[in-house]
Symmetry: C2
Subunit: 304 residues, 2 copies
Amino acid sequence: MSAEARFLTLLRLLADDPAARGLMDDAAVLDLPASQLVLTSDTMVEGVHYLPTDPPDAVGWKLAAVNLSDLAAKGARPIGCLLNYALSGDDDWDSGFLEGLGEALNRHAMPLLGGDTVKMPTGAPRSVSLTAIGEAAGAVPARGGAQAGDRLYVTGPVGDAGVGLDLARADPAASGPLVDAYRRPRPRLAEGALLAPHVSAMMDISDGLLIDAARMGAASGLAVVIDHIPLSPAVERTRGGSSAVMIAAASAGDDYQLLFAMPAAMRPPVAAIPVGHLRAGGGLTLMIDGAVMPLPARLGWEHG
Amino acid sequence: MSAEARFLTLLRLLADDPAARGLMDDAAVLDLPASQLVLTSDTMVEGVHYLPTDPPDAVGWKLAAVNLSDLAAKGARPIGCLLNYALSGDDDWDSGFLEGLGEALNRHAMPLLGGDTVKMPTGAPRSVSLTAIGEAAGAVPARGGAQAGDRLYVTGPVGDAGVGLDLARADPAASGPLVDAYRRPRPRLAEGALLAPHVSAMMDISDGLLIDAARMGAASGLAVVIDHIPLSPAVERTRGGSSAVMIAAASAGDDYQLLFAMPAAMRPPVAAIPVGHLRAGGGLTLMIDGAVMPLPARLGWEHG
């Protein structure tokens, strides 16, 4: 069996949902009750969105996770996905990728429904895309719905993935929770579904707390104040808890925590950490220990 | 404004459907009555799926058209699409691509709802993906539904695009109906919608009449006989009407005619040309002027 035939066989094993029609048809067909459909798509390019030394199963996992994270930000339940895969010419890499992708899809109950597998000319950088379809039960939060006076929360500490990326870059064999945070992010689907009916605005932190909070403020026509940057114990053990570490954590990408705004009188229905608030005006203000700090030159990852 | 900012501005102009949320959110959100969703995705790679000398607007048009053709094969109405675009570093190429894409989307009422724009490392071949979502009103035909005794039809002559590809390869400045058939294929959406309730099997001819008919036969567990290969006047004028020309036309890709099976007693509700029939058994038989012909070594395009 050729490498490509083997890849397609593995892919078909993964696409066992009846809507996928065994990947043998022109399209997937899905019966759906009246609903709100949530659609998102992400492309990951070798050397741009992940390190060439990252293990293939981590790249597969991450491609699923970043799309699932976009569904989480809408409170949506995954319905299915389509994979656009460029065969790399390296059979082990391709099957390792599918293994990690399949693990993430199974874990989060997102069936593979279709897509397209192509061959790239030899030597081209790998590029993989996934399009995810989700279903939202009720109100679908937007980035731009925040109100003046809303509190801002995150579903967990930020900066783990940023430190993990540094560690993986220095040593591709590095492991541990920070490297895992970078390579195998966890989409906050359960939290997103519980939060969606209550938040005034929500998004996932894919590019960094500062830049993503600034985007929420801009979309809502409001000023954003970040007055707390929560670090994990793992980051504090590795890097300490200085202002510089906090600012680096708040401008690093790949966290995939949810960032949401909620009226001050409400209590979040999930574990969440207050990080600031929104008020009339525009722009972003960063405070650490009560003091206004100069913003870093780079607020986050600009092309995530 | 940077080239990337300009591209994103053009992209937002194209994504004017409210469901796209101005491409400013994590995901597109679509209100949908109970329906059957049809999902398809195609990737086109420079030098693999199109010629590096093809004009960018033709590549944009074609990416939309090949996905629309998959919807047509399901009798589906386009609902929207997501674009995964790798910026080429060539501003004129990128905006030319969007122009052709936008033209095809507008022509066929398929709104752009989202996607992802990334930068590829310099020198990488271009790769573009589109995921299309359609809605089917009633029964959704599959490849595998044909019955023994069914007649096989196509919605028009085959081979135009194959000759067009040869002409464009010989001279990138070539023009005319055959080059247009290759560069700007027309998805048969109206025909697909009219046919879907009546056919026992349907697919689009993307890889060649012979290989696609063989796939329909295999999926239906039947033998396929092709006893007529319809050529267009343009192909006959350019190449003549010999058996060799017919066989080349039936094994060339990119036609995007619909191929469908229907009981012999029924009359197709659209203009259609009979090309053969299905019967018990397996395999593909090719007849020209009543004589069985040896099959060509290559039945069609294997990785379209």
